[in-house]
């Protein structure tokens, strides 16, 4: 018989076919859907988060796991009548600051956050302070994340924090920053709530801040 451990492992392996099969089998043998989610699927993606954190999984592998998870989830939600709870870890509004065109670091963080159960709104690049504020309001964000790759645009992070304060939003959201030229010291200076040196660190940071 399929076990919840096997299901979790299939998520770690990013094996969508296997995840679907095992989920079906577990549902068929009457296992509690809430358990399938918590102890199988979500346990798997937690493990993925850990491995990624330790630099033992590559991004495309994490993305495959996230795909597999999604397939499993949809199946459980479709097949079961009972209410099952899938709580989002939090809502993040993310963007590259004004004047800066660099996507990929920011995109990576978005993907990794989504893979790890966050709801993410990606505002793209060259994002003006007002746009961050607007989106934070609109999506009721827990976290606003800003990325910059240029030493000449990192200074715009402060403007966004100021704009959040001016809009009375500063105590409602946590602000995190990242990108090549950013340091913890800089983050402290501009009054951000956190800094992460890479995508794995960003996931960890968001977990702590939204927790």
């Amino acid at each position: 018989m399929a076990t919840l451990e096997e299901l979790a492992q299939a998520v770690v392996d990013g094996d969508e076919t296997q995840v679907v099969e095992l989920t079906k089998s577990l549902l068929g043998s009457g296992v509690n859907p809430q358990d399938i989610i918590n102890k199988g699927l979500m346990a798997g993606i937690e493990k993925v988060g850990e491995l990624f954190q330790k630099n033992e999984m590559f991004v495309p592998e994490v993305l495959m796991s996230a795909e597999a998870l999604k397939a499993g989830m949809e199946l459980v939600l479709k097949e079961t009548q009972q209410g099952v709870e899938v709580t989002s870890k939090g809502t993040v509004v993310m963007g590259t600051v004004e004047g800066d065109l660099h996507d990929i670091g920011k995109n990576l963080v978005c993907m990794m956050l989504e893979s790890n159960g966050f709801k993410v709104y990606d505002l793209g690049v060259d994002v003006k302070p007002e746009k961050f504020v607007e989106a934070a309001k609109q999506y009721n964000a827990d976290i606003v994340g800003m990325s910059a790759l240029l030493t000449t645009t990192m200074v715009n992070m402060k403007s966004t924090i100021d704009a959040l304060a001016a809009a009375g939003m500063r105590d409602k959201v946590k602000v995190i920053v990242g990108g090549a030229p950013i340091t913890q010291k800089f983050a402290d200076e501009i009054g951000a709530d956190g800094y992460a040196p890479d995508a794995a660190g960003a996931v960890d940071l968001c977990r702590r801040l939204a927790g």
């Binding site: 800066d100 990929i104 060259d126 030493t151 000449t152």
Partner: protein, 470 residues
């Protein structure tokens, strides 16, 4: 309008491994002041950038002051260390490209000081001017029209007219798709991004840059795949993607970067293209390379091997911040000069010793990382020899990727290169992805359309028609 290559490369410019060495290029480039790149001497290329600061009307005078301070420090140190000559690269930022008058003023500050040092102290120097590819500033980007393109071209023109010696760019055609390919380690999309989108955009762009160079007497340098394979390199260093993927991607950028030379650029190729050795092997152009002494800008697994066949040696980029000794641009100028001195001293003892030095540089890194392995001079020649057989850049790109996989697999078997256990399966994944790519470009495009996010880029900017229904 069609943008046709003015040259094609059907055979290698480098005929023998013994002719593939630093300092010497088959087609050296001579600058107006008499400096010859690829004529026997490796020159330092120093690149500097601003410390953390905003650029706008209120700070622009401080921006100018920063550049003025940096160039003075760099030239002073080069003079004190008796550099035989120096290349200064200024990579303009988005702000200083979108306002061509700002970029021009910076170039003027640099060139004026360089001329002063040449006149006063006999220190020869060249300025490489690299505007930012600001077409990206509008998303999805207009590649062949609009204000951004116009500003960028105006910046090239103004700077070239004032005497910028070398024109370069890190063009971004196809980058949106390539970014997506990278994080998913999808070599199919990467190949399309490079071999179709990148090549088509570079044909357009380089027809313009070469025209400006010819009009002004500047040198059309080259165009690295910085936004492509160097992003892969950075992600691999962070452990985000497999190193083997970055290695394959590096070789796959070769036909794209070669486009500049097919359109009439002459080199020196720009520093941040680790694919440079392939350019030198195929087009015979002198190349600038960066490695260990660019650790200020990025870490890499190719610190020494990158120098094997370089004609200029660069620090990529360093901010104007203070180290214990001096501003960082001055410290890195010193380091580059000493690196070059060593290579040039070995070469002064004869070709035999330059080749020894080259081989030590290669051996020091090649076995430890597949990204370094694909830069080993003999491997570069082996792969390049196959690539020049292909007329079509898309087919060549696909072939480059496949050859890279084969070479790395063979290297592993022969114990010549180490691949981490958890990366091995990725070689097979990449292989099987490549095999699925049809040889027909149109067919491939038709196939791919369904998978693409066409809100991120505009097919029409690459002469592509959307034919398939989603």
């Amino acid at each position: 309008m069609d943008y046709k290559p003015v040259r094609t490369f059907n055979e290698l410019a480098i005929k023998s491994l013994d002719d593939f060495v630093y300092g010497v290029a088959p087609n050296p480039v001579k600058a107006k002041n008499g400096m010859v790149i690829g004529g026997g001497t490796v020159y330092p290329e120093v690149n500097m950038t601003l410390p953390p600061m905003k650029i706008d009307e209120s700070t622009i005078s401080e921006v100018y002051r920063q550049y003025s301070e940096m160039i003075e420090g760099i030239l002073k140190r080069a003079k004190e260390l008796y550099a035989p000559g120096i290349i200064v690269e200024v990579e303009l930022l988005p702000e200083t490209t979108m306002k061509p008058e700002w970029g021009f003023e910076i170039v003027k500050i640099l060139l004026d000081k360089m001329r002063e040092y040449q006149d006063k102290y006999g220190l020869k120097s060249l300025l490489r001017c690299t505007p930012n590819d600001v077409r990206e500033m509008i998303r999805p980007p207009f590649m062949r029209r609009g204000e951004m393109l116009e500003s960028m071209i105006a910046t090239f023109e103004k700077c070239a007219e004032y005497g910028a010696d070398i024109l370069s760019i890190e063009s971004t055609g196809g980058k949106e798709l390539h970014d997506e390919a990278l994080v998913n380690c999808d070599i199919r999309k990467a190949i399309f991004a490079l071999g179709v989108l990148g090549v088509r955009d570079m044909r357009f762009l380089w027809s313009k840059i070469v025209e400006i160079a010819q009009k002004t007497g500047s040198i059309a340098g080259g165009d690295t795949a910085c936004g492509f394979a160097n992003t892969a390199l950075a992600l691999a260093e962070q452990g985000m993607i497999p190193r083997v993927f970055a290695a394959v991607d590096r070789v796959a950028v070769v036909p794209r970067s070669l486009t500049a030379f097919e359109m009439g650029a002459t080199g020196p190729d720009k520093d941040c293209g680790y694919e440079g050795p392939y350019m030198k092997a195929i087009a015979g152009v002198p190349i600038s390379m960066e490695g260990k002494t660019a650790a200020c800008a990025h870490l890499s697994a190719m610190g020494n091997i990158a120098a094997c066949v370089c004609d200029m040696w660069s620090n990529e980029s360093v901010q104007n911040i203070k180290l214990l000794s001096a501003p960082a641009p001055v410290a890195y100028t010193e380091q580059l000069i000493y690196d070059c001195r060593l290579m040039n001293e070995a070469a002064a003892d004869g070709r035999e010793y330059a080749l020894k030095m080259r081989d030590w540089l290669a051996r020091s890194d090649a076995k430890l990382d597949p990204q370094a392995y694909v830069l080993r001079p003999d491997i570069v020649l082996e792969i390049s020899k196959e690539l020049v057989k292909e007329k079509d850049p898309f087919i060549a790109t696909k072939k480059a990727a496949a050859l890279a996989v084969d070479v790395i697999k063979r290297g592993m078997e022969k114990g010549e290169v180490m691949v981490l256990p958890r990366e091995k399966r990725w070689l097979d994944i990449i292989s099987s992805q490549i095999e699925k790519i049809p040889d027909d470009e149109e067919k491939f495009w038709h196939e791919l359309q369904k998978e693409l996010d066409l809100t991120k880029w505009r097919p029409e900017e690459y002469d592509l028609e959307v034919t398939a229904a989603k």
